[in-house]
């Protein structure tokens, strides 16, 4: 499978990343390498093998429905690039 710069542009848009033409070019090559690496898996013959829903054969790992303390607000907000005393601050999301 080969990746085009259009593919990379689309993924960048979905991730809200703005790439310069140079970055787009180098990114396409790098992503091609990653995809190509994973592509090696296609060489394995999987005829007749049941697809798995998960890599481990565990099922039904659950917790009970009890509340435990949450993070103190200050701690939860501490790593945000921008916040006030109540919440995370992000550039206005309008027109939606």
């Amino acid at each position: 499978m080969s990746l085009t710069s259009d593919d990379v542009e689309k993924v960048a848009l979905l991730a809200r990343l703005m790439l310069s033409p140079d970055e787009l070019e180098s990114m396409t090559a790098e992503m091609q390498q990653i995809v190509g690496y994973v592509d090696q898996l296609a060489e394995v013959d999987t005829t007749g093998i049941e697809p798995m829903a998960h890599a481990v054969e565990l099922r039904n790992v659950t917790k009970d429905d009890n509340v435990a303390p949450s993070l103190p607000r200050g701690e939860a907000l501490a790593n945000a690039p921008k916040h006030n005393e109540e919440g995370y601050l992000v550039p206005a999301v309008l027109g939606d």
Binding site: L14, A15, R16, A53, H54, A55, V56, L58, R59, N60, V61, T62, K63, D64, D65, N66, V67, A68, S70, L71, R73, A76, L77, K82, N84, E86, G87, Y88, L89, V90, P91, A92, V93, L94, G95, D96
Partner: protein, 488 residues
């Protein structure tokens, strides 16, 4: 005949009534201070791992079986990727190609017969986590939006119908019935104001043009904050699509699915960003969560736990209790506690219709006026049943029913005590007969009138009888007088 048929499918998100979130132990309590109910898992800190809430699975399973869905042997979790500030992980944990339930149905009907009873097919119902909330303070003209992540990770069940509804009225009936069902089985409080129930509608038209059936592009309507808004939005959107079709001739497939927001104040839908195609969400299985399999025993237990569902109760109220479709609907729509009250009262009274009349007319009126629930109503079900029984046996004259009811209500008395306090006693039949006899003797003209065919003339005697003995039962007085006149 209408120029077009409106085709409607609904996506309903309901918040499941768990105490903690879907994959962590943060509280789901509504109304907390912003960002006080979050933890490394729900705000997507690196290295944190989600663990499924078993109660959310149980509630989802109960809902799915109540909606007649089949439960596949295996279900799994997928990541739905999209970039939005209220989605801290950059993906939502949802279910894509192996939902926990599918292929159900919900029956809708209209007691006023405005549409025929029909089954709305349910395509699927799957679990997912909720996103956070953005608040943009436009008044202050602030440049930034504030994000509150308390709601992030709250368990939602997304219930997707097939496009089986053909009018705003049917869509409304589906939502009413769904909400009733969910509140009966207690899986959600369905409070729209608090966001516990949200509705998106997919709408398009089938237009018959000279024998050719044309479908218009599908529009998804969002941002409807009440069931009434859903009805209005669908009606508006159908008209708008027909107009657009007349102008442009655009058909299904000519353009990607459009998303429009409902503006309730203006009463119009407005275009929003074009909907990202399903593949743009780049779903893939979530490696952090193992699949879930429900055993047959679990499915059976979920079915057994449901209790009587609204549709079953409505049916039995009509077939076993002899109530009208309308009365059955009024009672069932009040919720499970009122039905329990009604049924307990009927057991004591042995008169379903009688209890129904007092409940639907007087009890509901009092509850509405005092804005209270049946839980705190001062007349117990047993007292009301006894009260109705006494009317049925004739011990309490029907005409005095209202006075006794009011006394029971105001003073919290039993029916017997209320009757005693009002001086109501059953009048002995022979006493009543002698009273009637004396009235007839004193009113020969009325006797003549009745004999001449004017039966209604006897009404004047009833008034006189009540004056002499307030406990006299009007219908009995009437009958006795007519019988006596016939023998004269």
């Amino acid at each position: 005949m209408s120029k077009y048929t409106t085709i409607i499918g609904l996506e309903v998100h309901v918040q499941l009534a768990t105490k903690s979130k879907l994959f962590c132990r943060c509280s789901t309590q509504f109304g907390a201070e912003p960002n006080t109910q979050t933890c490394p898992v729900c705000i997507g800190m690196p290295g944190s791992l989600p663990v499924m809430n078993e109660e959310a699975l149980n509630l989802a399973l109960q809902t799915a079986v109540a909606l007649n869905c089949t439960i596949p042997p295996l279900t799994k979790w997928d990541r739905k990727q999209y970039y939005y500030p209220d989605l801290p992980k950059g993906y939502q944990i949802s279910q894509y190609d192996m939902p926990m339930s599918e292929h159900g149905h919900l029956e809708i009907s209209d007691s006023k017969d405005r549409f025929e009873t029909k089954q709305i097919r349910i395509l699927r119902a799957h679990l997912e986590e909720d996103a956070g909330k953005s608040v943009h303070d436009e008044v202050a003209g602030r440049a930034d939006s504030v994000i509150d992540l308390n709601r992030t990770g709250t368990p939602l069940l997304e219930i997707v119908s097939e496009p089986d509804m053909r009018s705003a009225l049917e869509a409304r009936a589906y939502l009413d019935e769904l909400k009733l069902l969910l509140t009966y089985i207690g899986v959600s409080d369905c409070n729209m104001q608090e966001g516990s129930l949200r509705v998106d509608a997919n709408v398009n038209l089938h237009i018959d043009k000279g024998g050719e059936k044309i479908a218009t592009p599908i529009v998804e309507i969002k941002n409807m904050n009440s069931f009434r808004a859903v009805e209005r939005a669908i009606e508006y959107e159908a008209g708008r699509q027909y107009k657009v079709w007349q102008e442009t001739g655009a058909k299904l497939g000519d353009s990607p699915k459009q998303t429009r927001g409902w503006d309730d104040a203006a009463g119009v839908t407005r275009g929003q960003r074009s909907k990202e195609e399903s593949s743009d969400y780049r779903y893939f299985p979530d490696p952090d969560l193992v699949p879930v399999s429900f055993s047959d025993e679990q499915v059976d237990a979920a079915k057994a736990s449901l209790g009587e569902l609204p549709s079953t109760i409505r049916e039995s109220l009509q077939s076993d209790h002899g109530l009208s479709a309308y009365d059955a609907e009024v009672l069932v729509n009040q919720g499970r506690t009122l039905i329990d009250y009604y049924q307990s009262a009927v057991k004591v009274a042995g008169d379903a219709k009688g209890v129904c009349n007092w409940v639907t007319q007087d009890v509901l009126r009092v509850l509405k006026e005092s804005d209270a629930g049946i839980e705190t109503f001062s007349i117990t079900a047993a007292s009301l049943g006894d009260f109705v029984a006494k009317q049925k046996s004739g011990e309490l004259p029907t005409a005095r029913g209202r006075d006794v009811f009011d006394a029971m209500l105001e003073k919290g008395l039993s029916a017997a005590d209320a009757m005693h306090s009002l001086g109501i006693e059953e009048v002995d039949d022979s006493e009543l007969e002698s009273l009637c006899q004396s009235l007839l003797e004193a009113n020969p003209r009325i006797v003549d009138d009745v004999k001449g065919g004017k039966q209604q003339a006897v009404g004047a005697l009833i008034g006189q009888a009540k004056k002499q003995n307030p406990n006299a039962d009007p219908s009995k007085v009437r009958q006795i007088c007519l019988d006596l006149i016939a023998k004269m």
